[in-house]
């Protein structure tokens, strides 16, 4: 094998998406699919790559992208050219920000408050593949069900909806108070909705989880979304030493979350030692200090 010429542009490889595999001379191709949203006409292209360069199968990564293992070192250069031609983007590995993870969001999900698909595309454009001390993971989720697990990412944004009630439409059926009591009991809080002496709902914002159950259940459509925003979590990770992110803001606007993400990546680069995750750096400086710096 030694005398076989392997022609490789190392700079091209450093751009990411090619991971060394357990077996000698083989690599895994990791792709970039923001939020896991993929046009179906791209699928045959992935199939083509898996058939030609891999072993005719793909692996769906935990960050919603497609990985293709069993690519031989001698094929890498050709593969990279072919990926470019097909329009398949390579993912991130090493000290860089990773594929954005997202849930289905309000375009199809009954629970979603915001269009997470669109947001994932915009976040990908701004924040994918940036240089960082270790890695940086971003998750976007459309409601407090947290399907995209924003609390487990270096930064996570969870859409929330603040409800309001038009009491002239209310028929005093009590269903809102009923669902609210259930949610709040599970979350260890007093109910955010209680009925007054006239059997009309009273909203106590301080106890609300902003999940929107009252809005969905209301038969009279008296409850509606007053405003949506994003709850922001920072410093979450899993790995060997798991830790949930700190909640640093309850209602951030869409405009604000781009600024917060940008500031977090910048701060992370300033405060972390190489190899350190954002959550670990936050522990050193304290969450209050970070909040002061980025909010």
């Amino acid at each position: 094998m030694k005398n076989k010429k392997i022609n490789l542009d190392l700079n091209e490889l450093r751009k990411g998406g090619i991971l060394k595999q357990l077996q000698k001379d083989y690599f895994i191709l990791r792709t970039r699919i923001p939020g896991g949203y993929l046009k179906s006409d791209m699928l045959p292209k992935f199939r083509q790559i898996a058939k030609k360069y891999g072993k005719d199968y793909v692996h769906l990564s935990t960050r919603q992208a497609i990985e293709i293992p069993w690519i031989h070192i001698r094929d890498l250069e050709k593969l990279i050219k072919e990926l470019k031609r097909l329009g398949i983007s390579r993912g991130a590995c090493g000290p860089r920000s990773r594929n954005i993870v997202a849930c289905p969001g309000s375009s199809v999900c009954r629970f979603g408050f915001t269009n997470v698909e669109k947001l994932a595309t915009e976040f990908d454009r701004k924040f994918f593949g940036q240089d960082v001390p270790k890695k940086f993971k971003i998750a976007l989720t459309g409601c407090p069900n947290s399907c995209a697990k924003p609390q487990e990412n270096d930064i996570g944004f969870m859409a929330v909806g603040e409800p309001e009630c038009d009491s002239t439409k209310c028929t005093s059926c009590n269903l809102c108070a009923k669902v609210c009591e259930k949610v709040c009991a599970r979350g260890g809080r007093e109910p955010a909705i209680i009925m007054d002496e006239n059997k009309k709902p009273v909203y106590r914002r301080e106890y609300c989880f902003f999940e929107g159950d009252c809005i969905r259940v209301c038969p009279a459509s008296a409850w509606r979304v007053k405003r949506t925003g994003y709850t922001v979590f920072v410093g979450g990770k899993v790995g060997r030493f798991p830790k949930l992110g700190y909640k640093i803001k309850e209602f951030a606007s869409e405009e604000e979350i781009f600024k917060i993400a940008d500031k977090c990546i910048k701060r992370y680069n300033q405060i972390a030692e190489p190899g350190e995750r954002f959550g670990e750096s936050i522990e050193k400086i304290g969450i209050e200090e970070l909040k002061r710096q980025i909010l």
Partner: protein
């Protein structure tokens, strides 16, 4: 709203989710636009889930009333 003319009654007490919703949906499909269906549902998940789902399908909920340990849901077909 005092006197609502009920066209059909569906007793779904002891019918679990999501069967209760499916039965409600099928019944509504048999009915004509503007007709009224009364559905009896268990307390807890059934009344919560079926009301949300019926509303999502675009029907109008005229009344929701608790009767002892079950609920009466009155729906006007859209």
């Amino acid at each position: 709203m005092t006197e609502i003319k009920i066209n059909q009654i569906l007793d779904l007490k002891n019918t679990p989710c999501p069967i209760n919703f499916v039965k409600t949906k099928l019944k509504l499909e048999e009915m004509s636009k503007g007709e009224v269906l009364e559905v009896l549902l268990d307390d807890g998940e059934p009344i919560i889930n079926v009301s949300s789902s019926v509303k999502e399908e675009g029907h109008q909920i005229l009344k929701v009333e608790q009767i002892k340990n079950y609920w009466k849901l009155i729906v006007k077909k859209a």
